[in-house]
Symmetry: C2
Subunit: 322 residues, 2 copies
């Protein structure tokens, strides 16, 4: 499928979209955040909302209507609350795009615009939800109000695989090993980031470390860090900073400057040292999370090896009733 | 000041507000979330955005204009990034309301609509930012598009002092003491909540525990808990659940049901047992955080006494350069 055509179909039916709601849970919700963030920053007319599925279901926005586009993502295609949210949106008259890895799942049905994406080794990030949702947002802006950065977004999407390839090699020549060897036994991990990348700050915490490695940790916004959380900082407390390229970098830089002199346990993952200087500065803020997701996978894998705890080990998810 | 009059003045000048942006840092940002949450759920026409001040400054929404209302809050009135955000909003032509406790501060100047609020022992919550912002949102909806729940919101605001009084007495007859005595030495704290109250889940973590008690902790959304974080749950790991009254309660209930059987260290603060049944069910979702903020103050005070660490102790904030 192709974002331009999907948006053209939506607009052919709807005329005009006033609201976009990005709805999912956990890792899928995280993947939709950069597009939400970009719409908020760049749109002259479209409102954007970002919801965990159950909250969208129990208290849906009053505006949810035929003027709305709902993009719902479920990797398995069967996340109960996400499917129900998509059904609710359809009932309210919204256009509904579902993103799923699983053909034939509950998300993949004829009354939704179902986009089944590939996953796994060798798949281009341009074909996965983070970039699909950015492309959908970009094409909606382009079609509806004109978007001077449309080409820059497309160019960035086309460059991410190559950047990630280089970045994977770079972090695995010392940094992921240092993370696992030196900090793998920390009692908890503070993960910091900002801007669109804050989604992957959250993602590194709740998916990579909590879900896949059973590590206790907390995610903090670099800008908010100085308004409370920094009082916990001291030698012996571990911080991992995702330092973005772009306009939000000043927040990460400020956090780094403080952390450097107030804890002896700090790792900084710098997007600019990992190839993000190749992305146009006008759109780079939206692509840091695409890089950081790929990096999170490398860091968790190093931890998995060190602790002999494969990243697909679960004790509850899909195993017990909840 | 009075929310109805303030909104009348804004609309007299602006005609119509299309976007409201709530902008602040840390504890002040937390106080603005319920109003943002209510606008998202209840408005037919107004878009709402909620931003930490620095992120608003470096990547302001393109829509920020003469059609926008910015509500900026800084308790001290001098939070640099919040003042700068308010100035930017003014330059872009927006109406700007500043909430501050400090008359004569940088937030309290003639080109803003400055609302100086009282603070401290004996002050009604109706006069403080959480309720002021809910009142502003409610009056904007009422004036601009009609809001059937306007009276219910006003009624809820008028009842919160009495509810909080009863709740304070109740939690201090055992529960805050149990928190301090039994769990005060935990290596970290998981705080859970959902809906509008998620702001106070965050607030209990970053303000009460991190800033004021130097306790490491993480804030989790009850709905998101099952999409990753629950894999960390086991006996010996402490969880504190803020259980809301209203439509979001189902998310907290689900988390509680799981936690009860998967950790031996759990405390549940139930809004319905603390008097929130007195608030109309149609608006109670927006008022849980007003209750929980007051409760957070009691729980942190118990911890402060236990550890002889007064809640105003700081080692960095306002002390070192950052």
């Amino acid at each position: 499928m192709n974002a331009k055509n999907v948006i053209a179909d939506v607009l052919k039916e709807k005329g005009r979209i006033k609201q976009v709601y990005w709805v999912a849970c956990g890792g899928s919700l995280i993947d939709l955040y950069p597009a939400h963030f970009m719409l908020n920053a760049e749109s002259e007319t479209v409102e954007s909302g970002w919801y965990t599925s159950k909250e969208f279901l129990v208290l849906p926005p009053k505006k949810l209507s035929k003027d709305s586009l709902v993009v719902a993502c479920s990797h398995s295609g069967n996340t109960k609350e996400t499917v129900e949210a998509a059904v609710l949106a359809k009932e309210r008259g919204a256009a509904v795009i579902t993103l799923t890895d699983k053909a034939g799942s509950a998300c993949d049905r004829p009354d939704f615009i179902s986009w089944v994406y590939p996953w796994g080794e060798g798949v281009s990030v341009s074909e996965t939800p983070g970039c699909i949702s950015l492309a959908l947002a970009s094409e909606l802006l382009a079609a509806q109000e004109g978007f001077a950065k449309e080409d820059k977004v497309a160019d960035a999407i086309s460059k991410m695989d190559e950047i990630i390839k280089g970045a994977v090699a770079k972090v695995n020549s010392g940094m992921t090993q240092e993370f696992a060897e030196k900090y793998g036994e920390e009692p908890f991990f503070y993960i910091l980031g900002s801007g669109a990348a804050f989604s992957q700050t959250y993602g590194f915490s709740i998916c990579s470390l909590m879900e896949m490695q059973w590590k206790n940790c907390a995610y903090l916004h670099s800008g908010e860090y100085f308004h409370g959380p920094f009082e916990c900082t001291e030698n012996g407390v571990f911080y991992f900073l995702q330092k973005s390229a772009g306009k939000c970098r000043v927040m990460d830089q400020r956090a780094e400057d403080f952390l450097k002199t107030h804890t002896d346990k700090l790792m900084v993952l710098d997007a600019l040292e990992l190839g993000m200087d190749k992305i146009n500065p006008e759109v780079v803020d939206y692509f840091n999370p695409i890089l950081f997701y790929a990096m999170n996978c490398e860091f968790r894998e190093a931890l998995a090896k060190k602790h002999n705890h494969p990243v697909d080990t679960r004790r509850y998810m899909g195993i017990v009733a909840y």
